[in-house]
C-alpha cells in the first residue's frame, strides 16, 4: 500500500453505466485500483477481470484439518490413551465420533475461511481504512485509479472517465 497516494476518481451514478464504463476504460488500457459501490453490483467481477476467489479451496483445506484433528483427538483419547467402553461398542467406534468430527469440520472450515478473508482483505481491527469518497456508502459508485501505476497521463484518464459517463471526475490524494 506504500507509495500509492495520488488517485483519480471517476464517480458514477448508475451501475449499468458503471459496468459499461469499466469495460471501456479497461479496454483503453487503464489499470483500475479498486471500485467502491454502496451495494453489490452483479457481474462486476467479470468486467473487472477478477479471477474466481480461491477462498473455497481454503475452506476445504481447513475443513479437512478439522476432520483429521477431530478424528485424531477422539481416537487418541478414547481409543488409545484411555480406552473407554461406551455403549458396549469397540474403543474406536467411528459412528460415535461422527458428530464431533462434523462439528469440528464445520467450525474450522468457517473460522479458517473468515480469518483468511479478513487477512487478505486487510480487515484487521487496527487497520485504518482509506475513504476515497464518503458517498460510496450512499448512492455513488467510485472507480479509483492509481496514477503511479498507470502509463496514461492524468488528463487522459480524466478524459476516459468523462467520456464513459462519469458524473464527476475528482482527484484524491492521501498523506
Amino acid at each position: 500500500m506504500e507509495g500509492d497516494k495520488n488517485f483519480v476518481l471517476g464517480i458514477y451514478d448508475d451501475e449499468d453505466v458503471l459496468l459499461k464504463a469499466i469495460s471501456k476504460v479497461r479496454g483503453a488500457g487503464l489499470k483500475i485500483h479498486e471500485v467502491y459501490s454502496p451495494f453489490p453490483v452483479h457481474g462486476i467481477d467479470d468486467v473487472l477481470g477478477y479471477k474466481r476467489s480461491r477462498l473455497s479451496v481454503v475452506a476445504f483445506l481447513f475443513g479437512l484439518l478439522g476432520t483429521s484433528l477431530a478424528l485424531t483427538m477422539q481416537i487418541g483419547m478414547l481409543g488409545i490413551d484411555w480406552p473407554m467402553i461406551i455403549g458396549g461398542k469397540d474403543h474406536i467406534a467411528i459412528p460415535d465420533f461422527i458428530p464431533v468430527t462434523f462439528e469440528l469440520t464445520v467450525l474450522l472450515a468457517s473460522f479458517g475461511m473468515v480469518g483468511t478473508f479478513m487477512i487478505i482483505s486487510n480487515l484487521k481491527p487496527w487497520a485504518k481504512p482509506r475513504i476515497f469518497d464518503l458517498r460510496i456508502t450512499d448512492d455513488k459508485h467510485v472507480v479509483a485509479v492509481d496514477l503511479a501505476k498507470n502509463d496514461l497521463s492524468e488528463e487522459q484518464i480524466k478524459g476516459l472517465f468523462s467520456e464513459s459517463g462519469a458524473s464527476e471526475v475528482n482527484n484524491k490524494d492521501f498523506e
Binding site: R52, G87, G88, K89, P95, D96, I98
Partner: protein, 450 residues
C-alpha cells in the same frame, strides 16, 4: 418470446420401448432363474434373526427353520402358515420397491412445482414444467400399487401384519406387539389412507396443472396467485401424507420395529432422487437444444439442490442410525442387524452410502462441477440408482430375509418401470409448452445470476 415445445421423437420412443422390452426379457429370465434355484430358499433362515425376539418372518416354515439352524428360538412358531414360493415374494417385493420409488419421483415433481410457487421463487420459472409433468405418473402408480397390494395380500408376501391370526388373542400366532398397533395397522384404515393419499395428491396435481396451462393462454398474475394458493394447500397435505405413506408402505414391513425419523428418511430419499431426475432431464433437454431460457446459473442452482439434499439425506440417515446404534436397544438395533450385520445385505448397506453420500459429496463439491452438465450427467444417474438401492435396502430385508438377491429380475423390473415412467412423463411433456411463457417471473428467471 418463442413458444417452445418438446418433441417426443420416435427415436426417443424407440429407446424407451427397447428399454421396456429388454426389461421384460430380463424379468422373465430372472424369474425362471429364481424359480428353478429356489428350492433351498429357507435354508439360510435364522442366522440374521437369531437375536430377534419376535417372529418377523411370517412365512417361515418352522420345521425347515429348525433344521437349518439351532439358534432360532424366536422362530418357534407352531403351525405357521406356509409362505409363498420365493420367486413370488421376490417378484412382489421388487414390484413394491419400484412402486414406492417411482411414486416418490412423481410426487416430488408436484412437490417441487408447488414449492416454487409457494415460496414465490423466480429463478425456477423456466424449468417448472418438467417436474409438473412427473405428476402424470400418479394415477398409473395408484393402479399399479393397488394391484400389487392386493396380490401381496392374497399371497401373504409383503406385510406380515396382514395375517389376521396375529391379532387374535386365542391364536397361537397372537403377537401382542403387532396387536397393539391394530388401531392403525388394520386393513380398512390402511386402504382408506391409501385412497386419501392418492386422491389428495392427484387432486392437487390436476388443480395446479390446470391453472398453469390456463396461464399459457390468459397471462397475468391472477393464475400465478391461484397456483400459489393451491400449492400451499398441497404442501400442508404433502407434509402429513408423505410421512404417513412412508410408515404405511415401507416401515410397516418391519412391523415390530419403528423409527420416528422414518417419514423424513423416505421423504429425503424421494426428494433428492426427484431433484436428480429434474436436473438430469433439464441438462439433457438443454443438450438437445431445448430450454433456451435456462442458462448455467439455473443449472448451478439445480446442482446445488442435488448436492445439498444428498447431504440432507445422509444427515437424516445418520440421525436415524446413530441414535439406534448408540442406544443399543435390541428391538431397535434389529433393523440394522438385519442390514449391516447380515452377510447378505452388508455390501448393499455400504454401497448405499457410497452411491448416495460419498460420490455426490465429492463429485459435486466444486462450483464448476455444478455449473457444467458433464459432471451432473454422471452424478444424477448415480443418485437415481443409489436411491433405488436405498429403497431396496429398506424393503427387501424385511420381506425376503436371506432369500433376497440382486439379479436379472431386479434389473429387468427397474428397466420396465423406468421406461414406462419416462414414457408417461415425456409424452405428457410434449403435449404442452415446455416453458411457461406467461409466468410472471420468467423475466426474473432470465436475469438470474449467481
Amino acid at each position: 418470446m418463442i413458444e417452445e415445445k418438446y418433441e417426443f421423437t420416435s427415436g426417443a420412443k424407440k429407446t424407451l420401448f427397447i428399454t421396456i422390452a429388454v426389461g421384460i426379457v430380463f424379468t422373465i429370465i430372472g424369474l425362471l432363474m429364481v424359480g428353478s434355484g429356489g428350492h433351498h430358499e429357507e435354508a439360510g433362515h435364522g442366522d440374521g434373526h437369531a437375536i430377534e425376539q419376535h417372529n418377523v418372518s411370517g412365512d417361515s416354515d418352522s420345521s425347515v427353520v429348525l433344521t437349518a439352524s439351532g439358534d432360532t428360538e424366536g422362530h418357534a412358531e407352531a403351525g405357521g402358515h406356509h409362505g409363498p414360493a420365493v420367486w413370488v415374494k421376490r417378484l412382489i417385493t421388487n414390484l413394491w420397491i419400484n412402486n414406492i420409488y417411482f411414486v416418490g419421483l412423481a410426487l416430488i415433481g408436484v412437490f417441487f412445482f408447488t414449492l416454487q410457487y409457494a415460496t414465490q421463487a423466480g429463478w425456477s420459472a423456466g424449468v417448472v414444467r418438467i417436474p409438473l409433468a412427473f405428476g402424470n405418473w400418479l394415477p398409473i402408480a395408484a393402479v399399479l400399487m393397488a394391484v400389487v397390494f392386493v396380490v401381496a395380500w392374497l399371497s401373504h408376501s409383503l406385510f406380515h401384519w396382514m395375517d389376521a391370526s396375529l391379532f387374535d388373542p386365542l391364536s397361537a400366532n397372537f403377537d401382542p406387539i403387532v396387536a397393539g398397533k391394530s388401531w392403525y395397522l388394520n386393513k380398512v384404515f390402511y386402504i382408506a389412507r391409501f385412497i386419501v393419499f392418492f386422491g389428495g395428491w392427484y387432486f392437487f396435481f390436476k388443480k395446479v396443472a390446470k391453472i398453469a396451462y390456463e396461464e399459457d393462454i390468459t397471462g397475468g398474475v391472477e393464475k400465478w396467485k391461484q397456483i400459489r394458493k393451491w400449492s400451499a394447500g398441497f404442501l400442508v397435505f404433502f407434509a402429513v401424507s408423505s410421512s404417513m405413506s412412508a410408515w404405511d408402505w415401507v416401515m410397516s414391513i418391519d412391523v415390530h420395529w419403528f423409527s420416528t425419523m422414518f417419514g423424513w428418511y423416505v421423504f429425503a430419499s424421494w426428494w433428492v432422487s426427484g431433484l436428480a431426475l429434474i436436473t438430469f432431464i433439464v441438462v439433457l433437454l438443454k443438450d438437445k437444444g431445448y430450454l433456451s431460457v435456462v442458462n448455467q446459473n439455473h443449472i448451478h442452482d439445480l446442482g446445488k439442490f442435488v448436492f445439498a439434499f444428498s447431504v440432507f439425506w445422509t444427515y437424516i440417515w445418520f440421525s436415524q442410525f446413530l441414535l439406534i446404534y448408540y442406544a443399543h436397544i435390541p428391538e431397535e438395533t434389529i433393523y440394522f442387524v438385519d442390514r449391516w450385520k447380515s452377510d447378505h445385505y452388508a455390501p448393499v448397506f455400504f454401497i448405499n452410502l457410497i452411491l448416495n453420500f460419498f460420490l455426490p459429496f465429492l463429485l459435486l463439491m466444486t462450483r464448476d462441477s455444478k455449473r457444467h452438465s458433464r459432471i451432473l450427467k454422471v452424478v444424477c444417474p448415480i443418485i437415481l440408482l443409489g436411491h433405488w438401492v436405498d429403497f431396496y435396502l429398506m424393503i427387501t430385508p424385511g420381506t425376503l430375509q436371506n432369500d433376497g438377491g440382486f439379479g436379472l429380475l431386479e434389473i429387468g423390473l427397474l428397466a420396465i418401470y423406468a421406461g414406462s415412467f419416462l414414457f408417461v412423463v415425456l409424452s405428457n411433456l410434449a403435449k404442452k409448452p415446455l416453458v411457461a411463457n406467461n409466468h410472471p417471473m420468467l423475466q426474473e428467471s432470465l436475469n438470474h445470476h449467481i
